[in-house]
């Protein structure tokens, strides 16, 4: 029979800094949120750019973006993390490796995790953005060009506003996936939520309480994201278009 001791979270943690075990969990939560948010920004910007390239009438840009997607989608996330953390600093050009190595060790963990998750998720967003653009009728692009827009202007004013509206639901799932995937950073030692959960188990031996707390926080974080994205979707809804409400 498990001896439930929820009050363990209020006890001062070992190490004598005055922090409680609850503080440990919250530190992990904050780290998970921070690394997810930074990766999301990278993923969204880079993925959008690559997604545009995937549909752009240029062999070079198409080839580049396709190669990116294939590489980053087909290597396991864990392996990618090791590549970013252990290998990239050794082979990076322009003194970036040296710059990376003089960072504070915790910052090194953060930067490697952020880049890894950002570019991994970016590859998935690339495909969402491409699908969104391709789901629009070919006539939309023609109509934009026929008005005298340049191709970039046609993307900016005609194609992307609709494409992004259409892909909000799949983007929400990518965002949730990103938060879940961020747990992989615990393997190199980033002190995010999953890592702190394991620390708690090690220090308090209250494994059920620790993992229940960690689980609940992941669920809460993701519900928050889904709520936010639902709100964005509502804000972006177009009257008269796809359940956009009423004539």
């Amino acid at each position: 029979m498990h001896n439930w001791r929820w009050e363990v979270f209020l006890e001062p943690a070992q190490g004598g800094s005055g922090a409680t075990y609850l503080d440990w969990v919250l530190v992990g939560l904050r780290m998970t949120a921070a690394v997810s948010l930074c990766s999301w920004v990278i993923a969204l910007l880079w993925g959008s750019l690559m997604g545009i390239f995937r549909t752009y009438p240029s062999k070079l840009l198409y080839g580049l973006s396709t190669a990116y997607v294939e590489v980053f989608r087909n290597i396991p996330l864990l392996v990618q993390l090791f590549l970013w953390y252990f290998v990239a600093p050794e082979v990076a050009p322009l003194g970036l490796g040296a710059w990376f190595k003089q960072l504070h060790p915790n910052l090194q963990l953060f930067v490697a995790s952020m880049l890894c998750l950002g570019f991994f998720t970016g590859a998935r967003i690339t495909e969402q953005v491409r699908a969104g653009i391709e789901s629009l009728s070919r006539g939309q692009k023609a109509a934009g060009l026929a008005m005298g827009f340049t191709l970039p202007q046609t993307y900016r004013h005609v194609l992307l506003p609709m494409a992004f509206r259409i892909i909000i639901p799949p983007l929400s799932s990518e965002c949730v996936n990103l938060v879940k995937n961020s747990a992989v950073a615990s393997t190199i030692g980033l002190m995010e939520l999953a890592y702190q959960g394991r620390q708690l188990v090690d220090y308090t031996a209250q494994s059920y309480e620790s993992f229940i707390a960690v689980t609940a926080l992941y669920v809460a974080l993701n519900l928050l994201i889904l709520l936010f994205m639902r709100w964005v979707e509502k804000k972006a809804r177009v009257p008269g278009f796809m359940g956009g409400g009423g004539r």
Binding site: A146, M147, G148, F149, H157, V238, F241, G246
Partner: protein
């Protein structure tokens, strides 16, 4: 205004959609292009404003060569209005924004100026009250009239129509044709792909008949409807007129 000389077009998949097409649209002239499905009408009209490229021949619009790589295509297109079969309004913008966005971003007009012009043209096509709505909230006929107004906002030197009424319910066809007739009577240079022979009879100066990528007939309206022509065109006409 529009000169098409010996134009041949092969799609990337190797299909030859146009075979040595030549015709001409004078300033203020209205020509109707007809022909069976797949005969290359859309391809031809898209070549005129450079939405499709072509491998051979030459197209001049107001003296500017469309096929010349040095030609500033966006600039040329901003002076050539185009109306599509499926309207192609921008669904995320209000009707008014649909009319103003290119005036501001392409022609560099001020927002006020563009709005004023937008309202004026909406009124002209009888849709002043719809300005704040979105395209998805209008009927097909209304959307197509907005699309015409959107093109007119740019003060085009000529207008291209690609089957502007063939996606419409029958009861909406006339509201769009009326706008086009009015435009023609005001002297707009127009190249219209359409099977509306009533429209052709009323305002067209010439009728071009295409089949399998070739221009088989290019005749004055009265000649086309009245007399000598290829068997192909006869067959086609008898088919669409029996509808």
């Amino acid at each position: 205004m529009i000169t098409i000389r010996n134009v041949s077009k092969i799609y990337p998949n190797g299909f030859q959609a146009l075979r040595e097409c030549s015709t001409q649209v004078e300033k203020g002239e209205v020509i109707v292009v007809c022909g069976p499905s797949g005969s290359g009408k859309s391809t031809l009209i898209k070549c005129v404003n450079g939405l499709e490229d072509f491998q051979q021949g030459e197209i001049l619009v107001d003296g500017t060569s469309v096929g010349d790589p040095k030609t500033n295509l966006p600039r040329l297109r901003s002076r050539v209005g185009m109306v599509f079969q499926h309207f192609e309004l921008f669904p995320h913008m209000s009707i008014l924004e649909n009319l103003t966005v290119a005036q501001v971003k392409v022609l560099g007009r001020s927002q006020d100026e563009a709005t004023e012009r937008g309202h004026k043209l909406l009124e002209r096509v009888g849709l002043k009250a719809q300005a704040p709505k979105h395209p998805g909230q209008l009927s097909g006929g209304q959307q197509q009239r907005v699309a015409i107004a959107r093109a007119l906002c740019m003060d085009p030197i000529c207008m291209l129509f690609d089957e502007p009424t063939s996606a419409l319910d029958p009861e909406m066809i006339n509201e769009v044709l009326d706008v086009m007739v009015e435009l023609a009577q005001e002297g707009m240079t127009m190249m219209c792909v359409t099977h509306e022979m009533g429209f052709a009879r009323k305002v067209a100066h010439r009728v071009v008949f295409m089949d399998e990528g070739r221009i088989l007939e290019d005749a004055k309206k009265d000649e086309f409807f009245g007399g000598a022509r290829t068997d192909r065109a006869k067959l086609f006409l008898s088919k669409i007129l029996s509808h």
